[in-house]
């Protein structure tokens, strides 16, 4: 019992030690600045484009609709995969079951389609 938890403990210590070691190493080998760094130097990103506006901007709702439809069919494949692997042993009952499952999902797709979720206005 204890040895099970000690594995977790060792992992915890390693995960703590690793970033500390990396940061410490960087601190040790980097060139030391002679004067205080200015504001430009302390920006999160020294190079690239300056950010514009706030990050809490609104996203078009269609992103979420696409994501939802995608998620439904993504999960469907998870169910389809083991079913396809074992298909020959499962027989007719499982075949009908899967048809029902896909049928219900297709009604959902039909609904999303008809309500305009797949159109980008």
């Amino acid at each position: 019992m204890l040895s099970d938890y000690s594995t977790i403990g060792i992992f915890l210590m390693l995960t703590l030690a690793f970033p500390l070691a990396a940061m410490g190493m960087a601190w040790a080998v980097r060139p030391k600045p002679k004067c205080k760094p200015d504001d430009e130097k302390l920006l999160p990103y020294e190079c690239g484009v300056d950010t514009i506006g706030r990050t809490w901007s609104r996203f078009k709702v269609n992103y979420f609709l696409y994501a939802l439809v995608f998620l439904a069919f993504d999960v469907e494949t998870i169910f389809l995969f083991p079913w396809a692997v074992k298909f020959s042993q499962l027989g007719l009952f499982a075949f009908v079951e899967m048809l029902l499952f896909i049928g219900i999902l297709l009604i959902g797709l039909w609904y999303a389609w008809k309500e305009g979720a797949l159109e980008w206005h």
Partner: protein, 469 residues
Amino acid sequence: MQISMLAPEIEIALLGLLLLVLGLLLPHKGRGIMGTVTFLGLVIALLLSAAGFGQEEALFNGVYQADSYGSFFKLLFILAGLLVVLSGSAYIQRLGRRANEFYSFLVFALLGMVVMAAAGELITLYIGLELMTISFYILTAYLLNNELSVEAGLKYLILGAISSAVLLFGISLVYAVSGTTVISEIAGHMQFQPAMVAGIILMIAGFAFKLSLVPFHMWAPDIYQGAPIPVTAFLAVGSKAAAFAAFVRVFMLALPLPQFEWGLVLAVLAACTIILGNLVALVQTDIKRLLAYSSIAQAGYILVGMVAGNEYGLKGVLFYAMLYVFSNLGAFAVATAVEVETGSTSIEAFKALGKRSPMLAAIMTVCLLSLAGIPPLAGFVGKFYLFSGAIGAGYLWLAFVGLLMSMVSVYYYLMVAKAMYIGTNDDMTPIKPDTSTRVALWICLAATVLIGVYPAPLSALAQTAIQLF
């Protein structure tokens, strides 16, 4: 195993899909029949569950239970759904082109409740719970142009998700210790250790949130107030009964008392819920908020029966949950009719209702008095079972708290009656609810009075259902 034992569930699922498809196919004008289709579908489901009452069988290796206990709650949910559809049809028609999805979500929420009540396994229970609550998130935020409704929906989504996570974490801890999620097998694999206690406490917290027990009740008033009123009615009655159905099944079967004294924890929760729910209800001026706090207090009363855990108490839980459907939905049906007419949910709008519509005022008074537990109405018999169960189990103080706060509750219930009969209103036009609302109101009135005068049949039904424990 026979598929026919799942007939009510399959019928309800098909009804939900049918409604979704009908909404797509029917031209705009033809959508008036959606309410009728929902009503007929639910009547068929009611008949199927009534026919299945008394069967006892475990399906899919105990994952799903077709037993009297589940059937009792199935009947309860379908009755609640029917009454909501009947009394809310005028309100739902006003939603315009989105009314068809409304019916569909209502039916899916109902399916979730049914699965919760009949689940014999924790993950199935959780799926039923999520089906129910996700449908309710959408229904709560249904009035998109109403700020209160959208806020309520968002609040419910966030808090509901957190509470589901807490419940799921509790389930995972119980599974980690016992090695099974099948409810009837957990007791056999119980080991008393800290992880188990943590799991049980997290599960109590998760269920307490769904039941809006103090101190997990903060969400209820805002959400009850913001949601469309038929949704509030269904949420207050159906969602609560479903949570009780699952709570009682899990705790009585999987986590029997001697292992961990959760009875006392629940007793304290019940006492807090009864006291706070009733006291805060005293100062409410909005009928939805008043009924929200009243339903918090009612959940406390029902919990008393579960704390008792004996025959009387458990019978009281089922009995009270059923009569609560009629009494509470009767009150909500009147509130819906008044809101459809006046557009207001404040108690001011009820002034002089006794003259504007004597029937509405009379039914409201009877239903509220039943909730207060005045004989000879149904609420009295229910409270009698619950409190005598508590006294039998040695929780005299809890029964005393319940009785005392019932007396307090009479005050705010009668404040509504006072507004209806003594208040004066500038607008004295009579309120005439449509036929389906009237049917729902008469059913609620008849059931509230009949159960109170002649409780034996319902009592026998509840007695059969609790044979499980």
